[in-house]
Symmetry: C2
Subunit: 405 residues, 2 copies
């Protein structure tokens, strides 16, 4: 593994060379806020995608999957609307998603197979194509190499803040950049859906290598977060590689490319959790001492989705018993006698017995907003995993229980 230096930079998804972007308001959202984003390369460039595993897939997911296959893993543009998920919309939904991509291709003068499309917002409502068409025209005219900030705004639904990140990577292979934007994973308003992530790089890579690296980077970042255990009909992450830096990465540079993509995806993913519904704390769940990494991941995910753990941390309660109980039921191999539980640096359970005398210290630690919890499953194995989540507040219930109309 080569030594690399990673530095955060400004510019978001347009920080890497060879990309322009824009975000506009075209009336899909009644609020008048930004609701359409366009990201464009100078020509069809290598592209990769990771799609939701939900079997109820929205029309734009199906359309993007088809086009990426038809283009042999290349894309010249990504068009995204917020305010309407175009999911559960039947035959019309497919027609609209295809039209959205075709309109973008015609406007930019590129092959229709080289446009990817994504949507987020209300489920079960059809797109107003007149508004979408106007938005595409406006966004194409506004495309700019400094448009990353607007692009981050155009994909938001009720995210409390926009998510963008960019980094510069100095490596033995040369200096290149990765940038990206993302939007929230919580189904933040009733009937709202979707986690979206879009990543660009100016490294030169093949579509196959980009796909392998994106998959690996997403596993440790966007796929390592959870707000409420849900997985939407529209989730997707796209990556485009312009090659504008002149840095050529080969199959042997996979690890470098994964590290680079991860460097941009991780702050975006953590941003999604910080902006989770009703969230007041970022919780990093670490699990070790597992028989395998997949065992560790299973337990970490069970802890991160446990309403009892999430409410305890919300309330500042160093409730190690709930962590033990969730670890025990998670399906992973577990030894109560050798398990260890830490909240922050404070060990609260080990050798089968509690250390409740340390509870006040842990309660003090839990007053912070960045909380680490650690569970050693006590199997003596080397398996480990890390998952980010947020606390569960009464505000989450309030947000999600309000009737839509």
């Amino acid at each position: 593994m080569s030594a690399i230096e990673i530095t955060p930079i400004d510019g978001g998804i347009t920080a890497p060379g060879g990309f322009r972007a824009a975000g506009v308001a075209c009336g899909i959202k009644a609020s008048g806020k930004h609701d359409l984003t366009l990201v464009a390369a100078e020509r069809p460039v290598p592209a990769a995608a990771v799609f939701t595993t939900n079997l109820a897939q929205a029309a734009p997911i199906l359309v993007s999957r088809n086009r990426l296959a038809a283009s042999g893993g290349h894309a010249a543009a990504i068009v995204v609307n917020s305010g309407c998920a175009n999911a559960c919309t039947g035959v019309d939904g497919m027609t609209h998603a295809n039209a959205m991509a075709d309109l973008t291709a015609a406007t930019l003068g590129v092959d229709p197979s080289s446009v990817l499309v994504a949507s987020t917002g209300v489920i079960g409502v059809k797109l107003d194509m007149a508004k979408v068409e106007r938005g595409i025209t406006m966004a194409a005219a506004a495309l700019s190499p400094t448009g990353g900030g607007d692009a981050a705004l155009g994909i938001m639904t009720t995210d409390p803040f926009p998510k963008e990140a960019a980094i510069e990577i100095v490596s033995a292979k040369g200096t290149f950049r990765v940038g990206g934007i993302a939007k929230g994973s919580g189904m933040i308003e009733p009937m709202m859906a979707t986690m979206l992530g879009f990543v660009t790089t100016d490294a030169q890579v093949t579509p196959g290598l980009l796909q392998r690296a994106l998959r690996a980077a997403v596993d440790d970042t966007f796929n390592a977060i959870t707000v409420d255990g849900e997985c939407s009909t529209n989730d997707c992450v796209f990556a485009l590689a312009s090659g504008a830096s002149g840095v050529v990465l080969e199959a042997t540079d996979l690890r470098l490319l994964v590290d680079a993509l991860r460097g941009a995806c991780e702050p975006l993913a953590i941003g999604i959790v910080r902006g989770g519904e009703g969230a007041t704390k970022l919780i990093t769940v670490n699990v070790g001492g597992a028989r395998s990494d997949s065992d560790a991941k299973r337990t970490a995910r069970a802890i991160a989705n446990s309403p009892l753990v999430k409410t305890a941390i919300h309330g500042g309660d160093p409730n190690w018993g709930r962590l033990v109980a969730v670890a025990g039921r998670s399906g992973a191999a577990f030894s109560l006698d050798r398990a260890v539980v830490r909240i922050g640096p404070i060990e609260l359970f080990s050798d089968g017995t509690p250390h409740d005398e340390r509870a006040p210290e842990a309660a003090e630690y839990l007053k912070g907003h960045d909380i680490d919890v650690f569970v050693d499953l006590g199997t003596g194995g080397q398996g480990q995993s890390r998952i980010w989540t947020c606390d569960l507040s009464a505000e989450y219930v309030r947000i999600n229980a309000d009737y839509r109309t």
Copy 2:
């Protein structure tokens, strides 16, 4: 399958002949409420048990499992304390759970292997054995064939109401009874745990038949409920069969015995859900059209544990999109084009398209307190499942976020 007639009767766990019970307050709970329950047969009788699958098992679970094996599936008494789970208490915990069973055996003059023990309450705190000993003495003196009501009180932690049920079964094999008590599954107070169920019958059966029937009855009742997806360190269900009715059930009567046990377990299980933390509505989740029953169960459980579904129903929002999204991610085979979603009798999604014009009717239905939801997974298969759960309220968060001390 024989035609049977089932009639609800009074008396709870002491309704079947051959059993006495008592519930007393011995000071384990600081509140002074009932905290120790004793159920006794006239001699060691066939007994069966279903234990938590959590790998972090409390001492009383381990002790009861050992004693049931040592007695060849017989028990003369069940002793239960509330207010302290005796879980995560190391070697002392095992000593105390064994002593609790031995003290009961000595007091009642039965073989130590014929006493089962259970505990519920705070995790990580040791039992005060002086209080337990006093409680056993008091309860043994108070044992009564009409003690079922007190027994239901003695196992409560913060359950909002006691749970007891009894039925009389008229069948071709004769007339016999089943009765039982239970306590809540939600970890209702911070560090509180456990779903407990205790069932008696005056049918005469072998331990093996009773075990098979209990397992089957529990699968459709206590194992078909969820409050928050958690599974505790102390969960268990015990069944005792006195034979006092003179009705002898053989292996060929398995179905009759399952139906009889289920008749008592179902209202107890539903009572646990109704008394769930912060619950305002009982939700019955039905899934059909699945490739298999296990696929249907997987989806029903995912829906029943979905915070988005539970908050929507809490808020009276007929949000079919969340049901579709959870079904799609549940891991079961699913066809969006052929799926059907109903809330109560109102069909809101079918043939891949919404019927939102019916949403106001569904919103009216959701004002009730007993809510049915139905999802057909659209595979054309015959698999089906039913799970009971409750809604998710801000009160749940408030209850679980309060600091223990």
